[in-house]
Symmetry: C2
Subunit: 368 residues, 2 copies
């Protein structure tokens, strides 16, 4: 039997991913207990291993602990609607902001989406950006220390991108991103814009350590951009890499282009959440009640459990009990789903309220 | 004997150029008397054939004559100092502005120079822009109808360039501009910025005819950008193409990277002009006074005469007399040079004064 080749690039992610192989291939380091011990009260995504590898994370923490200026960056490629998986890096940067009192920069790449999505108009891309930004503000960022921009709104990014573009040649970009003759000129230029996003804190307020939480498929950008740091006397950005939060049916990477039954949108109603989880969340439970009671479920492949683990049940003791009860067969699949539904709906109710409030304070966050 | 291949691309111009071959190769049309009869009182560069070919010039004139909205665009790739050859397209757009009362757009591409000149810093590119803009304003444009911008100053251009970038693929750009793996990402993106410059009048004030005077080596840009007009419901820009004004020693294209003895800078002192013309202006005169008096000089290859013809002697009768006297041997080479020196110095004295005044009104011209 032929084994499918594992593909992880910014544009393609294969369904089954061997993360330990990636660590070796990409030349990144695993996040270990020693590093994690410095990040007390970290959110579940960090504490429970969804972020599994890093570049220079200890150096970032060391500077932050010493009270040196640090900042953090997390970009958003805007989509029609955000789903819960999209929140993961923003949960991390919010935690870092709260812990170290540092600036958060959020570049929203309407240009990227416009270049890469054939049918997307520029107006749509800008509309998506405006929509997504409200969801981000709803997470509770500090307006005094949070700087959000879109590329078509904050076109000054072109100047910063140009500074980087001069240092990256077409061969390198092709090797890393696999551009072809069919790629449009915007796609080809975009790696310099992305790099400018990551260096924006240093362009705007001088050389300092920055942390960038990214999904592992975005790491090629980090390799290109870390190479040019010296040319600007910048400090190479630190990164932490997350695995993909699986879709409801268990696909490796949730995607906004999936069927809407594969993901929970931040705009979903309580009823939609209920329906989707009941109907589509892949279960690690047994086929019959009798069998489940007897030999128990498998939380490791159970999507509801995974969502609780990484996003919705922050209490370690409660999660432990859920896991134990599910494994033993005491907790049924339907009951596990109910726990998740309640948690998600509680979160979304609050989120949707905060999103309405965000409309009024939007302007405080926009980088001019 | 092998004939050198004729090269005319935006980056390379061979020393000997067969313009009739270019007309055929580039698929452009010669400017004929019928067209020229519409352009009464045109400046010498137009009237005396330095502009030799066009795309859609009659359509532009027709719209202008009907009183429809038209505009004209001429870009400047900033250099340390401008020389007299650089003025040619601006003399044309000023004439068009005066004749039809239309807007003139002047994009100054500091980004282009930054991308293409290896050693040039971004600060230097911006400094060159500021310097060159003063020389342009000194020509006497109408501040209410003239819009000058630099790309690093007016970064909104990035959005317009992006709209075009999505419609041009890497193959096309490579075919037209000959990019290689060594080309940096800024160079590769730049054709979309250049296109955005030419479409800026239509982006900013809706579809209408525009005229772009360019040196013939810039025509590849026109071919790429005319192809995308339909995608924006824009009107394909009209163009007129100039031959190169030869350098003092007679090289086909004057270049700011030439030895400073090859060109007359707008900042040259009266003494410098005198010295350069006397010493370096290639003469069509005979070697000895006796021979010259006997068989006369050749104005067709005489640089001083060429400069008078295209730039400094607008009076047809006076020019005719100079030509006749030179051909007959009545006018000596040194005397011809004296006429040119006086004309240039008269122009530069006025220009340098106007340039000082330009500093005070600069802001009225800058597109925000």
């Amino acid at each position: 039997m032929m084994k499918k080749e594992q593909i992880v690039s910014p544009w393609e992610v294969s369904d089954e991913i061997d993360y330990s192989k990636i660590v070796k291939e990409f030349g990144v380091e695993l996040i270990n207990q020693e590093v994690m011990s410095k990040l007390k009260d970290a959110p579940a995504v960090l504490r429970r291993g969804l972020y599994f590898s890093h570049r220079d994370l200890p150096l970032f923490i060391a500077d932050a602990e010493k009270g040196k200026k640090v900042s953090t960056v997390s970009g958003r490629g805007p989509s029609e609607k955000m789903h819960i998986g999209h929140l993961i890096p923003f949960i991390v940067v919010k935690y870092i902001q709260d812990k170290y009192g540092c600036n958060v920069y959020i570049p929203v790449s309407d240009d990227e989406k416009y270049f890469f999505k054939k049918e997307l108009s520029e107006e749509q891309a800008e509309k998506y950006s405006k929509d997504n930004i409200l969801d981000l503000i709803a997470l509770g960022f500090n307006p005094k220390k949070t700087f959000i921009h879109t590329d078509f709104g904050y076109t000054k990014i072109y100047k910063y991108a140009s500074l980087i573009a001069k240092k990256v040649n077409l061969s390198t970009a092709k090797a890393v991103f696999g551009f072809s003759g069919e790629s449009n000129l915007g796609m080809v230029f975009y790696p310099s814009v992305q790099s400018a996003h990551i260096y924006l804190p240093q362009f705007l307020s001088g050389s300092h350590r920055t942390l960038v939480p990214i999904a592992i498929d975005q790491d090629p950008y980090m390799r290109i951009l870390r190479d040019v740091a010296d040319k600007f006397s910048f400090i190479k950005p630190s990164a932490i890499h997350s695995k993909f939060l699986p879709s409801l049916s268990g696909k490796a990477k949730m995607s906004s282009s999936d069927s809407s039954n594969e993901v929970i949108y931040l705009s979903d109603s309580q009823e939609e959440v209920k329906r989707k989880i009941y109907k589509y969340a892949f279960s690690g439970g047994k086929d019959t009640l009798e069998e489940h009671r007897k030999s128990g479920g498998n939380p490791d492949i159970d999507i509801s459990f995974q969502y609780l683990k990484y996003l919705f049940e922050s209490d370690d003791k409660k999660l432990e009990k859920i896991e134990k009860d599910y494994r033993s067969g005491k907790l049924l699949s339907g009951e596990l789903k109910e726990i998740l539904i309640e948690k998600i709906n509680q979160f979304l109710k609050e989120h949707q309220k905060n999103r309405e409030k965000a409309k009024k304070i939007l302007d405080k966050f926009i980088l001019k």
